[in-house]
Amino acid sequence: MSNVISVGMADLKTTKAPNILMTAGLGSCIGICIHDPVQKVGGMAHIMLPTAGNGPVGNPAKYADTAMDLLVAEIISLGALKSRLRAKMAGGAQMFSFPGKPQVLRIGDRNAEQVMLELKRLGIPLIVADVGGSFGRTIHFDVGTGELRVRTINHGEKVI
């Protein structure tokens, strides 16, 4: 019997198969999912911004550059082998565009870029990503199989 575990905004959770991790309503935020397919454990972080900058970090799950190490450490503590970890991600949309204004700060894109940088630094392959666009996403991640189900309101549903 699998449980669906909900991951909130700026939240991070890990679990074992057959449980499912889900986060609802990703806009410019990113849901980053990492698992070990052999040990069948994994985790998800719902990050909101690329970097914590120089200020006090507070909640590390809020930022791509502080959430990933914590997520990986927690997955390893469930018995995962770092060399077997694989990642998927979804989100990073640009929900609004204001006519005539340059989009200097495309937070969605910057979030996705930062997650890719952190994965590279950690040596974890990014298997697939469903990012960008101008629509929200709700995701369900099966930590055993690594299946990532991406649901949208008006742009269909897919498993990646």
Partner: protein
């Protein structure tokens, strides 16, 4: 986020009340329907608890977002459940035809215009009361999961305080129109606004 005294909260509630009252009157006139607004709630909450204000994150809503620029910048946001947004469009166009709010550009423009008028009325009241001039941006509309829209609004400037001050008002129209208006002053603006009110 700054500490806020009870007196300041009360002052913000008064501002919210006057502003929302103006907006409700404007909407009533536009629709020729009675629109009521609740006494605004002023809440400082952790952003993680936003769903308690805006509703379930995955449920789609039509959201009009207006950036408020000037001396005391902030964000003004209208949330309409899809059924209510469709009724608004039908009343405006004087038809009972159904509209696909995800795709129909005419319906989308109408909703933006509603947002524009509501926010402008709100801001005029705010200026009259505080003496601070406000300039609304061109309204933007998104019809999608409300959580996705709200996170994009919160994060637009690339920073996020741990707590967010909401001034939010529930709109109810007769028949069957519901919506929610949220004003999010930027942190510096809040000081400025409270300063102008002498609290």
């Amino acid at each position: 986020m700054m500490e806020i005294t009870q007196m300041q909260l009360d002052a913000l509630r008064v501002i919210g009340n006057i502003g929302s009252g103006h907006a409700a009157t404007a909407l009533s006139t536009m629709l020729n329907r009675r629109i009521e607004m609740s006494i605004p709630e002023v809440r400082i909450i952790e952003f993680e608890k936003a769903p308690t204000v805006i509703g379930h994150l995955e449920v789609p809503q039509a959201v009009v977002y207006v950036k408020v620029e000037g001396e005391a910048p902030g964000k003004a946001v209208f949330f309409f459940p899809l059924e209510s947004a469709e009724i608004l469009v039908q009343v405006l166009f004087g038809t009972s035809d159904s509209f696909n709010l995800f795709e129909n550009e005419m319906a989308q423009s109408a909703l933006k215009e509603v947002g524009n008028i509501l926010v402008s009325s709100f801001l005029i009241a705010l200026t009259n009361f505080s003496g601070i001039p406000f300039q609304p941006s061109v309204p933007a509309l998104a019809v999608d999961m409300v959580g996705a829209i709200f996170d994009a609004i919160l994060l637009e400037d690339g920073i996020l305080e741990d707590t967010v001050l909401f001034i939010n008002t529930q709109l109810t129209g007769i028949p069957k129109i519901e919506g929610k208006f949220v004003f999010l002053p930027d942190e510096g603006s809040l000081r400025k606004l409270l300063g102008a009110l002498g609290v």
